[in-house]
Symmetry: C2
Subunit: 435 residues, 2 copies
């Protein structure tokens, strides 16, 4: 296992095996700029580049300006071979037996200017998002929700195992971890109130989470020319965690016939560090139903993959915090192997009509749930749509989220000391306006 000359906790999600990219600012310099996370530090790539940090990587010299941008779009647009070289080079600079000690290890002045403690950086959205699409590729989630609304016999729609169902989401309200989420107000049908006719307006009473992964597109395609399944991975920059906050009562009233709209458009939180696909390569895995999808003949050829191990063995958890609890409580533990479709399949499907993808487009996986209580990625599933509470310590119960509740999603692959993790995807609920 590779070691760094920096002291890194074995439980850190940002081991030297990771090197995720993000955008940070500091009190001293409010300009957002690219960085990588390493242990307890952000390595400010703007300062690093300005201080000659990339001098031993000739191929990046003509592109150094990408490290003085306020988003990672220009870096992402350089394509995966460049990302791979940059990550590999930074690992060499940071490793215990670095071949380039004078670059950073023994360069006190550059260490002081470029290494910033994570606790003193402000994270920003890593890329400017063009279009945001959310899929529905978590088979257990689709099944569980189907059972709730249509019963077990018709739980999955007929199309579900033939294509990765997805819908276009709202890009403007994708926010970075730590941004508070205002409880939305909207139209709700009060079906349970006797004598009630028509919808009422007010704060959602069914504010929910959705535990997801999401992929950023690095390079796109021309309108009219689909991305083939075999090339799709080359178009993916990396992954983040995502919490697709949802107002279930608004959703139930509005969603026919064109899908979720106001129930989703008020906020979608992502984790700040983009974990490159190269860092996740050792954790490729088959999904939990290898007979269902992949290279086999049950899918149309445009969705058939050369490799069955096209999802990732990432452990995911949802932590719940509120004032009435002495300490944070994990309410969900599951795995990203619960995704029936891979991101390359989603990308191939999305673009098969010729739809053009652009650098910075974001693809959500859909809610990731396991197959049992304690493994479910939404309160909708955990509480059977508000019928059975989630029981927490101190007698605290939740059907859905209350004001002041905080959700932290985490995800990590690999062994202690070599973790490839995402850091926190966090949000706290603010009361609705006008209360």
């Amino acid at each position: 296992m590779m070691q760094s000359w920096l002291s890194i906790s074995p439980t850190s999600p940002f081991s030297i095996a990771n090197i995720p990219f993000g955008i940070v600012s500091t009190c001293e310099d409010a300009t957002p700029r690219p960085a990588v996370a390493i242990g307890d530090f952000a390595l400010d790539l703007s300062a690093f580049a300005a201080g000659g940090g990339f001098s031993q990587l000739p191929s990046i010299q003509e592109h150094l300006s990408v490290f003085s941008r306020t988003t990672l779009n220009d870096f992402a647009a350089l394509g995966r071979p460049v990302h791979k070289e940059a990550r590999s080079y930074l690992q060499k600079v940071l490793q215990e037996d670095t071949p380039y000690p004078s670059i950073l290890k023994s360069n006190v002045s550059l260490r002081e200017s470029a290494l910033v403690r994570l606790e003193s950086v402000q994270s920003h959205l890593p890329l400017q998002i063009g279009d945001y699409t959310d899929f529905y590729a978590g088979l257990n989630h689709a099944y569980n929700v189907g059972v709730l609304f249509r019963g077990p016999d018709n739980a999955l729609q007929p199309n579900y195992k033939h294509l990765p169902v997805g819908y276009h989401g709202r890009a403007s309200s994708v926010i970075v971890s730590g941004t508070p989420v205002r409880r939305p107000r909207g139209q709700v049908l009060q079906t349970h109130v006797a004598g009630s006719t028509g919808p009422i307006f007010g704060p959602t009473k069914k504010l929910d989470i959705e535990l997801e992964l999401a992929a950023f597109v690095c390079t796109g395609n021309t309108l009219g020319d689909p991305i083939s399944i075999d090339k799709a991975e080359e178009h993916i920059f990396g992954l983040v965690l995502m919490n697709d906050w949802s107002a279930r009562d608004i959703q139930a009233w509005e969603y026919v016939p064109l899908g979720p709209f106001n129930s989703k458009n008020f906020a979608t939180t992502i984790s700040p560090w983009v974990v490159l696909l190269d860092a996740l390569e050792p954790f490729r895995a088959e999904n939990l139903w290898p007979g269902e999808t992949g290279a086999q003949e049950s899918l149309l050829p445009y969705l058939q993959q050369q490799r069955l191990d096209s999802v990732y063995d990432i452990d995911l958890e949802v932590e719940f915090r509120t004032a009435g609890l002495d300490e944070p409580t994990v309410i969900t533990r599951t795995s990203a192997r619960n995704l029936l479709y891979s991101f390359p399949q989603m990308l191939a499907h999305h673009s098969v009509t010729g739809c053009n993808m652009n650098t910075g487009d974001l693809l959500g996986s859909g809610t990731i749930s396991g197959d049992a209580p304690g493994k479910l990625g939404s309160f909708l599933e955990q509480t059977k749509n508000g019928k059975e509470p989630v029981k927490l310590p101190n007698g605290v119960e939740r059907f859905f989220l209350q004001d002041g509740d905080e959700i932290v999603i985490r995800g990590v692959a690999g062994e202690k000391g070599g973790h490839v993790g995402f850091g926190d995807c966090r949000g706290v609920i603010l009361p609705a306006h006008g209360k």
Copy 2:
């Protein structure tokens, strides 16, 4: 009626009462730049500003740089009072008895550099689009489609008359009039083929149009703070025509439970000139069902408007061209008064959860249809989903679009000599790849 010193055909959509804004380039200068359309000309605002054209409008002086941008976003972001002043000033410069003859009328050199014939300009998307949302506010269309799929008793969903149903669309594939449209391929269920099991992959056989209007947002709101119905108009830059191309067979298979996706994401065409709301102000009108929506109590307060005349009296038509026809044939004539909800209502609903709107966001109205054959905004309605052909001259028939067919949508308000129109919203169908 205001007259211009420029010779303008009385049938031109671009009378001096209009002054719509767009983005153009020319063979001589390939850089896209702002312009207004007037008669047969584009007035290049970059050249006009550089030549001192705005010298008699002191309030615009500090903002002149917006006219050297490649999109109208910066101009739009200045807000409606500035748009109003700029349009009014350009009318004064162009009117017969202009108070500023030396600006353009008698300034031969500026006329030569800034007035370009429309036939020699290339139009571009007028704004860089952030998010694109499509509504479903055409009551007849929603009813007609509902009858086709659910019968007359359940044609409208229960929510339809309580809120403007909408969904998030694909922004990247919004294209400007004249861009050809590649027939998309995708998954289709062959329900009519005996013995067929599962979906097949191929070119859509039900390629359709949707006749729509669309609004560009000029100024947005902060995430968490809704736009109130009374302020919504101030956030709208202007309107364009839109053709929301749709693949009905792909749509039928994919759309449950999250709405249309691949069936819509391959192309959406808009007309190049943004007609400002100020230009449309004289054509305000009630919709055709004034008892249904507006200020009355049947809607929740956040959707109640002060004025019932919140849609526009715009005549719309769809023209069809193909090789087998001697001349173009109008297949649809209808009115924008068939919209049940206004754009301010759509904007208020969209943002009521706190969803943040940005400069350049695009809101489609949904398909606009009248209540009888010859007034329908889609082939789906005209042919009852492919059952009864549209009959055209020379024995030509169409159930849906064939390769080489061309659609031109037009829209105009006002009387001859004072037309406020949009110009063409045009697209021709290219054969699918791999045929």
